[in-house]
Symmetry: C2
Subunit: 448 residues, 2 copies
């Protein structure tokens, strides 16, 4: 017994000395997680410092409206209703001006409308006596909640007024029900509306005045940078596809060729930004009724081009590569097509960024189109003989046809960028250095 106790004792001491492994392991695990989390936060801040600024702005707005509680004269006139100003700030303050304005306007109008209707409902319910009142109120609340909830399924309404409908249900229910206990319904509506307005305008003012983030500007930059990413891929594709294959290479070795991937999934963010941008007033080079739809159109065409590029990328590291001799025959033409389309896309991207009419893009597109014609001739001239394995031709043929598709897409993008340039009256600037002329054919500038 003594021996057993002693050994148990030793074990315990040992455990204590080592700090009880499970706990030690657990605390180490927690430490790693916490460190990971903090480095993630720092990365988020460095990636886009506007996030840090936004957080400080949110803190500022909230601290400002909390003055209602601290400052006696203000508190006297609003009382507990001041809470609605705080709630409004928390839920309305968003990253971009457009999102904040959209939510603020939705909340304000919905509160006004629901407040008015709720007062009406309260008056009607009052007529039905003390017993009938809760029944009539219950029916009203049920009906409006069911109808408004159903209307929220409508996609067009969901996109712009979803939050307004939510606040409508909330305010109508709260005010019509409160009316049962508190006869000062009108005062209730009045106070609620006023506090919501104060909270909402605090958000809007801080959002517009302190380092504003414009959704429209973000959409503008996103569309331009997506186009640039495709341009970078195309400029690099020719050299990459036709170069000597080396051992141990994979997709990860060429990060500049992977940029296009984010373009494929950008529809959701583009739609959201366009929705927010519609609420934004005139700012910088953007008017109130800026043609955001045209941006979405350009974005859709860019995505279409990106999906072709994904197919091209699949051929970069495919298992079945075409024979060197066959590839080398079309190398120059294909490289030119890819390079010129890439240059055109980068030019168009720059045109959007600087809001200057694209000048050289049409020339690059004409260059790539005349190279497409060269490729046609090359393919028609019977580039290969009877002994050529057609299986080795297939990948080359596919790459060629995808490149031809890319030129078509690029021309479509150029056309819609030109439409945008006309809509927005982009500046016309004569370039200081003229781009290279096409090698063959007559370039028709202006036709794309």
């Amino acid at each position: 017994m003594d021996l057993e106790c002693a050994s148990q004792e030793t074990v315990k001491q040992g455990l204590l000395a080592r700090g009880w492994p499970p706990i030690k392991g657990f605390s180490k695990h927690v430490k790693t997680k916490v460190l990971e989390f903090f480095s993630l936060l720092i990365k988020l801040g460095l990636d886009d410092p506007r996030r840090v600024v936004h957080s400080l702005k949110a803190g500022l707005a909230l601290t400002l409206v909390s003055l209602f509680y601290y400052y006696q004269p203000l508190y006297k006139s609003f009382g507990v209703s001041a809470m609605w100003a705080v709630i409004t700030v928390v839920v309305v303050f968003e990253f971009s001006v457009g999102a904040t304005l959209g939510k603020g306007v939705n909340r304000g109008l919905a509160t006004l409308l629901a407040g008015g209707l709720a007062v009406g409902a309260h008056q009607l319910a009052n007529l039905s006596g003390r017993i009938g009142e809760p029944i009539v109120l219950g029916i009203f609340v049920f009906l409006q909640a069911a109808v408004s909830t159903f209307v929220r399924f409508c996609p067009q309404i969901k996109a712009r007024y979803d939050y307004g409908l939510l606040i409508f249900i909330l305010t109508f229910s709260l005010i019509s029900i409160s009316g049962f206990r508190d006869d000062e319904v009108l005062e209730l509506v009045h106070k609620r509306l006023l506090t919501v307005l104060i909270g909402g305008s605090t958000c809007v003012i801080i959002s517009v005045l302190v380092f504003p983030v414009w959704a429209g500007q973000d959409l503008h930059n996103l569309i331009a940078s997506n186009m640039e990413k495709l341009g970078i891929f195309l400029e690099g594709f020719g050299d990459e596809y036709f170069k000597m294959p080396e051992d141990g290479e994979s997709e990860e070795d060429r990060p500049f060729l992977q940029g296009y991937k984010s373009v494929l999934d950008s529809k959701t963010i583009e739609d959201a930004l366009a929705n927010f941008a519609r609420w934004e007033p005139r700012h910088g080079r953007f008017q109130f009724r800026h043609p955001w739809k045209q941006y979405l159109k350009i974005g859709a065409l860019t995505r279409k081009c990106a999906s072709r590029i994904e197919s091209l990328n699949g051929h970069l590291y495919a298992d079945i590569q075409a024979k060197r001799e066959i590839r080398s025959k079309i190398q120059e033409t294909c490289t030119t097509i890819s390079m010129e389309s890439g240059k055109a896309l980068k030019e168009l991207s720059m045109a959007i960024k600087t809001m200057v009419k694209p000048f050289a893009a049409d020339i690059h597109i004409e260059n790539s189109k005349s190279s497409v014609k060269n490729l046609d001739t090359l393919l028609k001239s019977g580039l290969w003989d009877d002994e050529t394995d057609l299986l080795e031709v297939v990948p080359v043929a596919t790459v060629a046809s995808l490149l031809i598709d890319v030129v078509t897409c690029t021309a479509e993008i150029a056309e819609s960028v030109n439409e945008l340039a006309t809509m927005l009256k982009f500046e016309v600037v004569e370039p200081t250095v003229s781009p290279e002329k096409p090698e063959t054919g007559q370039p028709k500038i202006g036709i794309s």
Copy 2:
């Protein structure tokens, strides 16, 4: 003058008689819009009757919590705080059980945590005297709002706990600020927590018991039906591509060939459903920790296949069509590949739907793989001579290579469906009718 007056009179009378055109036109316009809106609503209801049920459920939940106001004993214990139950119901009640549970748990836990911290902040601020108190409180509110707002940018946290953080900011601010005016902070926290719990559980109970809508089930069905759409396209593609071109035909004529398009954009909805599904308890054939990630993996592979199919679709109505003679040489093989991959996808979709181990899918994939080998032989055997215009070969070669890609994608999908089948222990059911055996080669069932 008289004449002028008279003529003006006539004009006026005419306008009145005709009901003043602008107003008439406007009212007609409004009428059309209203009618359009109602027919849209009816369509929304008919498309998915669960939307109507959801709206009625929302109305019911709201009417239930409003009893707090009508029923005297309940109102006595909660007073104005009963409003929080109403607010909770309006904002927490969502379409699916998972979304409702996620929001409810977020709101409940955030209220508990923020309430506790706010009481602590209130005690600390109390120590700093009447003048220091608002300053200390202001600093607390500013700091927590800024930090929490920044943490909301973290994508992993945003996906699951965004709403919780919003409620954390809201509750902490409200309670710590209210404490400045009202010393009964503990009671305030207690009441708020209790009403939020009551509102939240009302939502969860109604959402689970009355015609529940499970996000998990929706994700399951979506993945299966997306796969089926691709299968339908592939089954029809061969006949459509190789048939006689007729005049005036366009994409709109073949709606069954357009179903795949919705698959391309389904990432957002799949991610959202998987996020909601993670909150859902065991229901029907789904456990609490169902492998939703595997569904997302299958979904991503399906989208990859859909992007190949989009390229194929581009060749259906392309301007440059390959010559009939060339096309007819590979017609049979390509049609078989397309048909067999389509059958495999439909089989896999059915396997997911019924949760029965896919049986015939591997056979169909082997069939299509052996057809790919046939296609290889056909292409290698020098199908065309020196006189063949290579430009006419290119589209055929591209279609062939895309079909080969589709077979690879289908095999990948089959593999991940088999993984899912193993994870979930799908039933094994011997088919009553055995599928056709492959025409050439030895089918290796089980290898895909």
